[in-house]
Amino acid sequence: MTKPVLIVGGGPAGLAAAHSLSTVGKECVIVEKEDRLGGAPILSGYAKLVPSGEWARDAIGGMVKRAEGAPGVSVETGATVTSFDGEPGNFTAELSNGKKIDAEAAILCSGFTHFDSVNKPEWGFGTYEDVVTTTQVEQMISSGDGVRCPSDGRKPERVAILLCVGSRDRQIGREWCSKICCTVSANMAMEIREELPNCHVYIYYMDIRTFGLYETKYYWKSQEEFKVKYIKARIAEVTSDGEKLIVKGEDTLVKRPITIPFDMVVHAIGMDPNVDNPTISETFGIDLEQHGYIDVGNRYGAMGETSRPGVYVAGAATGPETIDDSIAQGHAAAMAVLSTSADFSKTA
């Protein structure tokens, strides 16, 4: 048996890769910088996932349990990779906890970083307590406490969800669509209406990108069954009159300026490249693409190749990605590793 595979990051992609490798008897080591596995869905306390509707702690928590108990999978939490040298089939990685790992290949499943809304000060985050992010609302729902205004704990009667916060915004150097926020927001709007039937939810959008089958399940369902209102307006600013938040913008469908009072404003924050990507790029000697995500090499031969042979990438490390696709990419990257491994491949 040759050396194990180094998996950097224990989120959906990393857990999927570890599971794939384990099932065929290939050893792997998951290196996770946080104190536990699960990635964003667990660490950020997501509520129900799109599109399964399963609670993140059950769905991703189940993946964590499966990986932790799997034969051949070892886990290093609270650790990062500080150096990575060698050739395909013969790498050596040093960890921040002093351990050394000989690895046959590496799969980078280092994910993304949530956009920090402070970078859009005109939308009130950090100034007004009742301006929150989708992540915070996910936590309100998953904790069981319900959606409440942080300032005084009251039930909001009117909630505005602003889409594309930290996405498709050239002003702040984020030109990408984060792909999933429209669907997540539509889902969240329905969850709010379910918990608080008297609370009206408005979604302010530039375009709606509930792609593929999400159109029916989220976009239309939220309007037809849950009476969520969609208003085409890029909000200019969020202020306060001392009692309520005041959302200013223009309803572009009727060409009318609007100044509407709200109890709570939710930023549908996008996915930034992992803040550690420059370090990862240097440590592993791989290229980043123009936005700062890890660059994917050949897309049609093997899955998840990077610019360096023997180093693979999967999930939201490559760009904004859904949980389902991250998992698929994790499995695919594992397959790519196996296809070049002397242990398994008939052609390697």
Partner: protein
């Protein structure tokens, strides 16, 4: 004026001071003309539900603003301000004040139902127009329309007798809409009927005018229909919160 320009300047948003001196400069009259902002300040969140509670408006929530209704509209071709898509949007978003600006156009729908066939989402825009007209009347924004008077006269007669006696319908309709019965075309029509119709038929028509014909055994059917109509009216009044409206009006009068 095309719809997208209509919003720009409205006469009621123009203010002019007859006498005004600013920093020693006389800006009286048109020199001080000022355009006030035309900002939407709030949404009426129950507006969509109110329209949906009236017959024809039930499917308004399905609209995806494609504009097929407006594009196929007979009236829009003549009056570009007649824009069903736009009103559906205003209703769904609760922009009541914007909707009321068009209260004198909305009734113009001719019920050709081209929009009904064009709509990809089965919104039934013609029904929505009807519901919106009724909403405007019920809320007191517009007076009762002649067609509403006609519908009422017609229905009342059916419920009462189970039959329609046209001359009675016409007489009552003219009375309620305060029109003279003896109009030149009416006189001419009656003259020609007297001249041309067989005597037997004329006699029967004359009798029917004097003694309203009634379907035999209609009593229980009439009661059942009336009960249903009352139920529906009650539901609508509740959905539109008309009791509150009456209460507010009373208070206004008292004040």
């Amino acid at each position: 004026m095309p719809i997208h320009e209509k919003s720009l300047i409205r006469p009621e948003n123009l203010t002019t001071h007859e006498e005004l001196v600013l920093d020693g400069v006389d800006v009286s009259g048109h020199w001080s003309t000022f355009i006030e902002t035309r900002v939407v300040k709030d949404y009426n969140e129950s507006l969509e539900e109110e329209i949906a509670a009236l017959p024809g408006g039930e499917q308004i929530h399905r609209c995806w603003q494609c504009g097929s209704c407006t594009n196929s509209c007979t009236v829009n071709a003549i009056n570009p301000d007649f824009n069903p898509r736009y009103w559906i949007y205003l209703i769904r978003m609760g922009m009541e004040s914007e909707l009321l600006r068009d209260k004198d156009i909305i009734w113009q729908c001719v019920s050709c139902n081209k929009c009904t066939y064009a709509c990809p989402r089965d919104v039934f825009p013609e029904g929505v127009m009807k519901a919106t007209s009724h909403w405007l009347e019920k809320k007191g924004h517009t007076p009762k329309s002649p067609s509403m008077h006609f519908d009422e006269v017609f229905t009342e007669q059916i419920v009462a007798t189970g039959k329609i006696e046209e001359s009675r319908t016409i007489r009552r309709f003219f009375a309620r809409t305060k029109q003279k019965l003896a109009q030149p075309w009416m006189i001419e029509m009656v003259k020609r009927m007297l001249r041309g119709l067989p005597v037997g038929l004329l006699t029967r028509m004359g009798l029917a005018t004097l003694v309203a014909p009634r379907t035999s055994g209609w009593g229980s059917a009439s009661a059942a229909i009336q009960e249903y109509i009352d139920e529906q009216h009650e539901k609508q009044a509740e959905a539109l919160n008309l009791a509150q409206l009456v209460e507010t009006a009373k208070q206004d009068v008292a004040a």
